[in-house]
């Protein structure tokens, strides 16, 4: 075991986080600038500043202003929100479950949230107004989180096989129920159902941004406070408790906050899989597993990944648009295989 390749060079957070922030800014400018109508980065900046009341000397047309402000900017913002929510939720779940494979999609939380969302559409619920759908996505996410947690956890530990099988079972049940709902749904509702199951940012408007932003931003602001506790969770729940973490309380808080973020993300974008798996893994490879760096880095990295994936989704087959979830799945599937092979090489596979 010991001896070889044990000291890994790591990029410290103080370097990585600014780099990721730069990447996100670049991705944002690309996301706004690239499309059927091209808009130069300086024009993008000028338009955004103009809406903040600052005028700079760069020329742009009224049409460009409309495209940036009404179409692309809300979409980019939504991508950032969804990506950071999924990236951070993945990192939190993996730390809490002490398990590198915990991902909101893989363990069934996303599909539970999608089931909630589809259910509210197909059954025509609207008693909470515009908040109905996010609320149902949230409840679906919380119920599946708790179910996964209760089933997969045993004696303070979560076996990887049990976790994945639980995820498969929950995904199957959610998928079946979603399928059932498509029978009672109208054509219009059916389109929405398909939208959720594939994942897309195509419906982004300032209204959808406004619906998801409060939940996700609240989650992003709260999550860093658990960074130290999550590090200790990785030692084991009992050990975390011995070191002063109120594990019962922290566990519930983390489940609720990740369900809130995942639920909000799924409500506006459908099931965008693998972001919560890919991003934390890449960040850990670069910067190590310390959650104090990992959590903010996953927020920035997840935002960039979804932003660029969405850019690909709407430009690859232009003028047609691919579903975002398809793009992330095409990236994530092979990534998972590589991850599995690497782990098998390193430690003989996941126990």
């Amino acid at each position: 075991m010991g001896g070889t390749a044990t000291v890994v060079p790591r990029i410290p957070g103080a370097v990585l986080l600014p780099l990721l922030a730069l990447l996100l800014i670049g991705a944002t400018l690309a996301g706004i600038g690239i499309g059927a109508v091209r808009i130069a980065p300086e024009q993008t900046v000028a338009i955004l500043l103009d809406h903040l009341g600052i005028k700079i000397d760069v020329a742009y047309t009224q049409q460009q202003d409309a495209i940036v402000w009404a179409i692309r900017f809300p979409r980019v913002i939504l991508a950032i929100l969804v990506g950071s929510a999924l990236g951070v939720s993945g990192a939190v779940l993996q730390g809490m479950f002490r398990n590198p494979l915990a991902d909101p999609g893989l363990i069934g939380v996303s599909s539970g949230a999608a089931l909630g969302a589809v259910g509210s559409v197909a059954l025509g619920f609207s008693f909470l107004g515009v908040a109905t759908l996010p609320a149902f996505a949230f409840v679906g996410g919380v119920i599946t989180s708790i179910t996964v947690y209760l089933i997969a956890r045993h004696d303070g530990r979560t076996e990887i096989v049990t976790l994945i099988l639980t995820g498969i079972a929950l995904n199957t049940v959610s998928g079946a129920l979603t399928g059932l709902l498509t029978y009672v749904a109208s054509d219009q509702q059916l389109r929405q159902v398909v939208f959720w199951s594939l994942g897309s940012l195509g419906t982004a408007t300032w209204t959808t941004v406004g619906g998801a932003a409060p939940f996700i931003i609240l989650g992003l602001l709260l999550i860093p406070r658990w960074g130290g506790s999550l590090n200790l969770f990785v030692l084991g729940e009992r050990e975390a408790r011995h070191l002063g973490v109120n594990t019962e309380r922290v566990r519930i808080e983390l489940i609720v906050v990740t369900a809130l973020m995942t639920g909000a993300a799924v409500a506006v974008a459908g099931v965008v899989g693998f972001v919560g798996l890919i991003v934390p893994h890449l960040i850990r490879l670069i910067a190590g597993p310390n959650h104090r760096v990992l959590l903010p880095a996953c927020a920035l990295g997840g935002a960039s990944l979804v932003l660029l994936a969405d850019l690909a989704a709407r430009t690859i087959a232009s003028p047609a648009e691919l579903p975002l979830g398809v793009i992330t799945a095409l990236l994530g599937g092979p990534f998972l295989i590589v991850l599995m092979l690497k782990t098998r090489q390193a430690q003989g596979g996941w126990a």
């Binding site: 010991g2 044990t6 000291v7 590090n231 200790l232 050990e239 002063g244 310390n290």
Partner: protein, 274 residues
């Protein structure tokens, strides 16, 4: 500041099986107590009870005058540290990061040198930058001990700290336990090696089937009759050739080794007759 820890009639029943029955003893500041006993005797369960992990069926554990289950986790973490039998990490934390975890969830920068000192104390300083999951079992055990030391508590509960260690490091761990006790800490340590217990412990508690059969000084507890009965194998006890403590010698059962024993005993007899 020294702390006192008292078990009063601690009993635990799970699915109508008694894992602990009426265990009572106190752990005084400045002493090392070794818990010994056969597998399944309830040693680890007792340690967990002392750590405040369990909801007892009967009895209570009193820490500094207060029932241990009344302490919030954060206060308890300032009083007692627990060394688990094994810590498996799925993530590539470095050795230093693992030891820093001993400083608690709010710790960020090691500005008082506690982490360095804890690493040095277990011969782990040189591997501080290595990745914990890549270490050997013995190295991991030493790093985990460093983590426990970094917690700087007046009470230390160690579950088989010597299990995967070589002789040198077994000795090192027990020396650390003694030093801590000399500085006023209370140490409860589960051991399988009765000679380590007899050498380093002030008192030895012998457990069997959930009961504390006896607790006392090594000379009081390590008697041939009691050890032979509790461990269900023939055990001889002699005077340690160098130290003032018992030397515990498990006797062999296999016929061939047995013959050696009898031959030597016979030879000794002849010598005596001459």
């Amino acid at each position: 500041m020294p702390s006192s820890l008292i078990a009063e009639g601690v009993s635990l029943s799970i699915r109508s099986r008694w894992l602990l029955r009426e265990v009572s003893f106190s752990v005084e500041p400045g002493e090392v107590i070794a818990l010994v006993g056969p597998n399944g005797a309830g040693k680890s369960t007792m340690l967990r009870a002392l750590a405040g992990d369990l909801t007892l069926t009967n009895g209570r554990v009193v820490l500094d005058g207060r029932n241990i289950d009344q302490y919030p986790p954060r206060d308890l973490a300032l009083k007692r540290a627990v060394l688990p039998q094994q810590t498996v990490l799925q993530f590539a934390f470095s050795v230093r990061e693992v030891v820093e975890m001993g400083r608690g969830p709010r710790h960020i920068i090691d500005n008082d040198g506690v982490v360095d000192a804890s690493l040095r104390r277990t011969d782990s300083y040189d591997i501080a930058d290595r990745i914990y999951p890549s270490l050997s079992g013995g190295e991991q055990a030493r790093v985990t001990l460093s983590r426990v030391l970094a917690q700087q508590t007046p009470i230390l509960l160690l579950d088989e700290p010597t299990a995967s260690l070589d002789l040198h490091h077994q000795q090192m761990v027990m020396e650390v336990a003694r030093e801590l006790a000399m500085a006023g800490a209370s140490v409860v340590v589960i051991l399988h090696d009765l000679n380590l217990a007899a050498t380093y412990a002030d008192r030895i508690g012998i457990m069997r089937e959930g009961r504390l059969v006896t607790i006392g000084t090594p000379w009081e507890t390590c008697t041939e009759a009691l050890l032979t009965e509790v461990f269900e194998c023939e055990i001889a006890v002699a005077q340690h050739p160098i130290r003032d403590c018992p030397l515990v010698i498990p006797m062999a059962k296999s016929a061939d080794i047995r013959m050696d024993v009898e031959r030597i005993a016979g030879a000794a007899g002849r010598n005596g007759a001459r």
